[in-house]
């Protein structure tokens, strides 16, 4: 618990809030990027260097760009006529608040029971690599398969539909 943590938490939460609340979709996407970056920095603060950099590489380098592309391809950068929030936004807000309340309650109730490790874990990239191709090789291969399938699926879904002759 120190200043850095509070700053990063504020950055992340602020980014997240902006992402949800801003009107303009591109602004939302950029705010999401801020939230992603804040999270990556939080990862670094948790001594998870590899995960942090992977987060930057994947989320800022790929997912954010993907979102931006999607926004521009769907003309999402123009403001919709019927407002950006759904008519029943209040219900959603209440539910989300309920979720937070329940989660925070759970955290505060149970966190004392968890033993805490304070020493910085000595984990190198080599360890992660060895674990990936050792103990976690099956998940790794499944993820590889999933990514391939997702790539092909995304291409097929987004591909131009062929003109079908009208019957």
């Amino acid at each position: 618990m120190n200043v850095v943590f509070y700053l990063l938490a504020a950055l992340t939460i602020g980014g997240g809030l902006a992402a949800v609340l801003l009107k303009h979709l591109v602004h939302c996407a950029l705010a999401t990027t801020v939230a992603f970056a804040g999270l990556a920095l939080l990862f670094l603060q948790l001594d998870a260097q590899f995960a942090g950099f992977a987060q930057i590489l994947v989320y800022i380098g790929a997912v954010a760009i993907l979102i931006v592309f999607a926004i521009l391809l769907t003309r999402g950068s123009e403001l919709p006529k019927g407002g950006v929030f759904s008519p029943s936004w209040f219900v959603g807000l209440v539910i989300a608040a309920g979720i937070f309340a329940v989660l925070a309650w759970a955290v505060l109730e149970s966190v004392r029971a968890v033993p805490q490790q304070t020493a910085i874990p000595d984990v190198t990239v080599r360890d992660i690599g060895n674990a990936l191709v050792g103990r976690y090789v099956l998940p790794l291969e499944i993820v590889a398969l999933l990514l391939t399938a997702a790539t092909i699926g995304a291409v097929i879904v987004a591909m131009h539909e062929k003109e079908r002759p009208k019957p």
């Binding site: 590489l57 380098g61 521009l72 190198t124 990239v125």
Partner: protein, 396 residues
């Protein structure tokens, strides 16, 4: 000879200088002061190099195009960058009326900052690296990925169709070639077994006879380096892959609406990206700061590093002077249908190289596979109509 105190001191002169400066401070402050000093050094040296390179590029292009290049300001036009700098600082900073001001302002900053971050993990000489991160290469690429966002921000916030088109082209191109860039570097990681750049250099810093063990002198290393160089050219939007800035079509691409100092920042950012990507290429394939022959090790390591980087910059300039621009579809097809498969193959070959063990066999087999596939893909696959001349539907 290389071990004599004089040469060692000369090699480590910056380290010694830093330690000497820091020794004036109380010891608890020293580590922080070290970092500050190093950051100052990087922030001073590379923009200085950038200034030099602009002159170098304009003169070089001038020679290629059979003209003189800048020669009015100072001896041989050497003070030209100072004049340019003063000009861009004093020009009016125009922000278009409909532009999204905040994003428009942030874009060049994000670009320059992320590009500067990349230098943090580059070893520029023996012991000369800002942070020796365990995951240095990943950090470098993470920072490289962040630059794409700044390009998009610049293009979108300008509210100009040319800017937006240029930005979309640039982002699409950078994403496509980033895959190739990353995968061609992974080959090196596979052999070295480390993502730390100083470790990668150290792995190449040994000699057989007088010849060094640089990775470019292996079949997979050469193939990887060629792929890396192509991807780096595309990644930095340099000719012949400079479509995002193609002035004949897009005015100036995503920074059309920038002027004055913000434009200078974009300019700086692009050149810095060029330096950092050349530095990474040097580190990965050309032995980083190690000398090209064992009898030249007495020359300080940082001189080698910077000469290799400047050599790559020269190649960039040379290509800009000689090659015509590609078309967008050719560019994308080339990335996804040639570079990517070939880089993946290179990874397999690298694994083969590793598992075949020492001996001449692996040289023959790896070279044969790479050359055969290169010829096959180049001659057979690239022959299809996507890569050939475009058929104009109405002009013929």
């Amino acid at each position: 000879m290389a071990n004599t105190p004089f040469f060692t001191n000369f090699d480590q002169i910056f380290i010694i200088l830093r330690d000497w400066l820091v020794s004036f401070l109380p010891s608890p402050w020293r580590p922080a002061a070290c970092v500050v000093l190093e950051v100052i050094a990087i922030v001073c040296v590379f923009p200085g190099l950038f200034a030099l390179t602009t002159v170098f590029e304009r003169k070089g292009l001038g020679r290629i195009q059979n003209r003189l290049g800048p020669n009015r300001v100072g001896p041989y036009g050497l003070f030209q960058p100072i004049a340019d700098g003063i000009k861009s600082l004093t020009k009016e900073d125009i922000v278009p009326l409909s532009a999204n001001a905040v994003v428009h302002f942030l874009a060049p900053l994000v670009l320059v900052v992320t590009v500067f971050m990349g230098f943090a993990v580059l070893p520029m000489g023996r012991n000369m690296v800002l942070v020796d991160m365990d995951a240095g290469l990943l950090f470098f690429f993470a920072m490289g990925a962040a630059t794409e966002l700044s390009v998009f921000m610049a293009g979108w916030s300008s509210r100009n169709k040319y800017s937006l088109l240029g930005a979309m082209r640039a982002v699409a191109q950078m994403i496509s070639y980033e895959v190739v860039l990353l995968l061609s570097s992974v080959a090196v990681v596979m052999i070295t077994g480390s993502l730390s750049l100083p470790t990668i250099v150290a792995a190449q810093n040994s000699y057989t006879g007088i010849f060094p063990h640089w990775y470019i002198f292996t079949p997979w290393g050469l193939a990887g380096f060629v792929m890396y160089a192509i991807a780096a050219t595309a990644e930095t939007n340099r000719s012949p892959f400079d479509l995002p800035e193609g002035e004949s079509e897009l005015v100036a691409g995503y920074h059309t609406e920038y002027s004055g100092f913000k434009f200078a920042l974009f300019f700086l950012g692009e050149y810095l990206a060029m330096f950092s990507i050349s530095g990474l290429g040097t580190t990965l394939f050309l032995g980083g700061w190690s000398a090209p022959f064992s009898f030249l090790t007495f020359i300080p390591s940082w001189i080698w590093f910077f000469s290799k980087v400047m050599l790559s910059i020269f190649v960039f300039i040379w290509m800009r002077g000689t090659l015509p621009r590609l078309r967008q579809d050719q560019l994308m097809n080339f990335a996804w249908k040639f570079c990517l498969p070939y880089t993946l193959l290179n990874l397999i070959v690298t694994a083969l190289w590793h598992f075949m063990g020492e001996g001449w066999m692996r040289w023959v087999v790896c070279t044969a596979i790479l050359v055969a596939v290169y010829v096959f893909m180049g001659r057979v696959e690239m022959r299809s109509e996507h890569f050939g001349p475009r058929r104009y539907r109405y002009a013929e």
